[in-house]
Amino acid sequence: MTRTRIVVAVVVATLVVAALGLIPVARAADPIKVGLGMALTGGLSANGKPALLAMQIWKDEVNKKGGLLGRPVEIIFYDDQTNPSTVPGIYTKLLDVDKVDLVVSGYGTNLIAPLMPIAIERKLTLMGIFGLANNEKYQYPNYFQISPTGPDPATSTAIPFFELAAKQTPKPQTVAIVGADAEYPQTALVGAREVIKRFGFKTVYDKTYPPSTVDYTPIVRAIKATNPDIVFIASYPPDSVGMLRAAHEVGLQPKIMGGGMVGLQFTTIMQSMGSKLNGLVNYDYWVPEKTMMFPGIAEFFREYQPRATKEGVDTLGYYLPPYAYAAMQVLGQAIEATKGLDQQKIADYIRTNEFNTIVGKVRFGKNGEWAKGRTLMVQYQKVQDGNIEQFRQPGKKPVLYPEELKSGNIIYPYSAALK
C-alpha cells in the first residue's frame, strides 16, 4: 500500500466514523421529546402554569418507572405569553429545531386555534388542552381534546344547567342570559339560546359586555329589573367575580343562578369570594366528592399540591391539572401500546381505544372530543369566608349533575342557600 492510499483510507475511515456519529439513530438512552407552548405569562397563565406543572409531574413519574419504550421522556416547552401569534413560531421551532417526537397544545381555545393548521399540514397527532370546539370546522381526525365537554361543546354547560333548572318545583319560567364579548362566553351563549328554546323557557334579558368592564352593578341592576327566575352567566374570571359581587350588592336573587362562570373553580378566587359563592350552580370538571375519586387521583394531588404551593400556582388545582395530567397519560398509553412514535398509529390507537386516567375512563369520539360529555353541575353550599381548607373536604361543592356522579341535593331556590 502506497503512502497516498494509506492517507486516503484513513480519511475515508474517519469520514465514515464521523458520519455514523452524525446520523441520528434513536438509541435506548435518547429521550422521547414532547413539545408544547404554554401560557406562562399573560392572561391565561393562572391556568397555564398549573397545567405545565401537572405534565411535569407525569413526566417525572413515568421516568421514575423507567420511561416509555425504555426511553426517558423529556418535555420541551416555551412560553406562548397567552398570545396566539407566538404559537406558529413556537411549534415550528419545536418540530424543526428541537425535533420533538410529539406535540401537545397550550391551554385554551385561542391558543389551540393557530396550532390546528400546523398539525393538519404536518399530519401530527395533536392533544388539545381545554379547547372549546376547535376542531368543529376542520374535523381533523388526529386531533383529541381532554376537557370533558363532549361531542357538542357549545351546549355542554347549558344542557346540564337548564336540565337541572327544569326539574325544580315550582318550575322556573323566565331566563336572563349574559356573558362577555369573548370566544368562550359567546359560544356558551349560543348553546344556551338553543337549549332555552328546547326547554320552553322565556328569555327576558340577553346581552353581552366587553371583557374590560370595571363596574358590573349597572348590568346586574338591569337584569334584576327584568325579574328573571333563571340567570345564566358565561364569564371569565374577572367578570365572574365582578358579576357575583354586584349581584350581592344589588340583591339579585333569582331562583337559580350560575352556569358557565369560569374562575370560580380557582383556589384564590374561591378563597376570596367565600360565602358569596353559596347557592351558585356552576359548571366544574372535578371536585373532591366521593363519586369523583377515580383511581390515581388522590396520589396525583398528594404530589401536585405541595409543588404548586412552592411554585405559587393554583394550590388546590382541581380544575385543569388533573386533565392536563390525563392528556399525557393518554399519549403515554398510546405510545406504549403502538410500541413506537408513528403519529398516525398513535392517533388511530387513541381514536379507537378507551383509556384509564386519573379523571376516569376516557374515550374519544366526534371531532376528537370525549365521546360522552361529563360537564358537572355543582352547587356551592355552606361555604365560609376566608378558609381554603374547607374546599379539600367533600360537601362544599356537591355534584348535582350528571345523575351517575351525583353526590348531593340542590338547595332551591337560590335565596335558601344564602341563609
Binding site: 397563565s45 393562572a46 327584568t226 374577572p238
Partner: protein, 290 residues
C-alpha cells in the same frame, strides 16, 4: 325597560366609577398631560400599587387604602429614579419621542414579569369588612367598594389641584410644562422639577392601585386593560388639566353605566370612545385644554 329608579342608579354608579377612573388617570394626566412624557408604564405602576396593598393585607391585615397612602413615598422615589434614568438615557439626547416610548414599554414588561415571578399569576383580590358593604339611599344603591375609591379619587384630584396651583413646586411644574427654557432663565432647574412631577405622578399610582384591587381582582397583566382608558380620559379632559381629568373620568363613567343599563353593555366602551372622538373634533385640545 326604562324606569326612573334604574336611571338614578345608573347615574350614581357612573359618578362613582368616574371618581375611580380619575384616581387611576391622575398620574398620566400629570406625566403625559403636563410633562409630555408618554409613560405607558403608568398602569403597570398602578398594578404594582395593587400588589403592595395585597401583600400587606394578606401578611399583616393592613387596610388597602392605608397601604396605598403609606407607599406613596416609596413610589415617589421609584418614579424619581425612573425619570432620572429616562432623562439620562433619552431626553438629554433628544431621543425621547420613539426610544422613550420603547423604554416605558420595557419598564411595563419588567414590572409585569417581576410580579408574575414573585407572586405568581393567580387572580388577587383584597376584601375588607367595610368595602363589602352597600347602603340604600332613597332607592339608590351605593356599594362601598365604589364609594370609597370615588371619594379617594376626588380627594386626590383636589389635592393635586391645590398642589399645582398653590405651592411653589406645583407652580414650578406648571411652568416647566409651558416653557422649560424660561424656567431655566429664572434660575430653576427644570430637570429637578420634572423629577418631582414624575415622582408625584407615580406616587398617585400607589393609591390608585390600592383602589383598583379593592374593586376587582388583579393579575400582573391587568394593566393592559387600563392603558386605553387612562390616556383617553387625559386627552378628553384636556392635556395637563387636573380638573378636566376628573370631569372626563366622570363623563366616561356615567356614559358606560347608562349604556350598560339601558342599551346593552357591549356598546359602553364604543360609545365612550365615540364621545372622545366627537369632543376632539370640536375641541382638539380636549374639554379643558389650553
Amino acid at each position: 325597560m326604562f324606569s326612573w329608579d334604574l336611571l338614578a342608579n345608573a347615574v350614581v354608579a357612573g359618578l362613582l366609577l368616574g371618581g375611580f377612573y380619575a384616581a387611576v388617570s391622575l398620574g398620566i394626566s400629570l406625566i403625559f398631560g403636563l410633562l409630555d412624557i408618554a409613560n405607558i408604564a403608568q398602569p403597570a405602576f398602578v398594578i404594582l400599587g395593587s400588589y403592595a396593598a395585597y401583600v400587606l393585607h394578606e401578611g399583616y391585615g393592613m387596610d388597602p387604602i392605608l397601604t396605598g397612602v403609606l407607599f406613596t413615598p416609596v413610589f415617589y422615589l421609584i418614579g424619581a429614579l425612573v425619570y432620572r434614568v429616562y432623562y439620562a438615557s433619552f431626553e438629554r439626547r433628544g431621543d425621547e419621542a420613539l426610544r422613550g416610548l420603547v423604554f416605558f414599554f420595557g419598564v411595563l414588561f419588567i414590572i409585569e414579569v417581576s410580579l408574575s415571578l414573585k407572586y405568581g399569576v393567580d387572580y388577587r383580590l383584597v376584601q375588607t369588612g367595610y368595602l363589602s358593604r352597600s347602603i340604600e339611599l332613597g332607592g339608590v344603591g351605593v356599594a362601598f367598594r365604589y364609594l370609597v375609591p370615588c371619594v379617594v379619587g376626588v380627594a386626590m384630584t383636589a389635592g393635586l389641584y391645590l398642589f399645582l396651583g398653590r405651592t411653589f413646586y406645583g407652580r414650578a411644574i406648571m411652568a416647566v410644562s409651558q416653557d422649560q427654557a424660561a424656567l431655566r432663565l429664572m434660575g430653576a432647574d427644570p430637570i429637578h422639577i420634572k423629577t418631582i412631577a414624575f415622582g408625584v405622578g407615580i406616587a398617585a399610582a400607589s393609591l390608585a392601585g390600592a383602589l383598583l384591587i379593592s374593586i376587582a381582582p388583579v393579575i400582573p397583566s391587568t394593566d393592559r386593560d387600563y392603558i386605553g382608558r387612562m390616556f383617553a380620559i387625559t386627552v378628553l379632559g384636556g392635556m395637563g388639566s387636573i380638573g378636566g381629568t376628573l370631569v372626563a373620568a366622570v363623563i366616561l363613567g356615567v356614559v358606560e353605566s347608562l349604556m350598560a343599563t339601558f342599551f346593552g353593555p357591549s356598546w359602553s366602551l364604543a360609545v365612550s370612545f365615540g364621545i372622545l372622538l366627537a369632543a376632539l373634533a370640536v375641541r382638539p385640545a380636549g374639554l379643558f385644554g389650553r
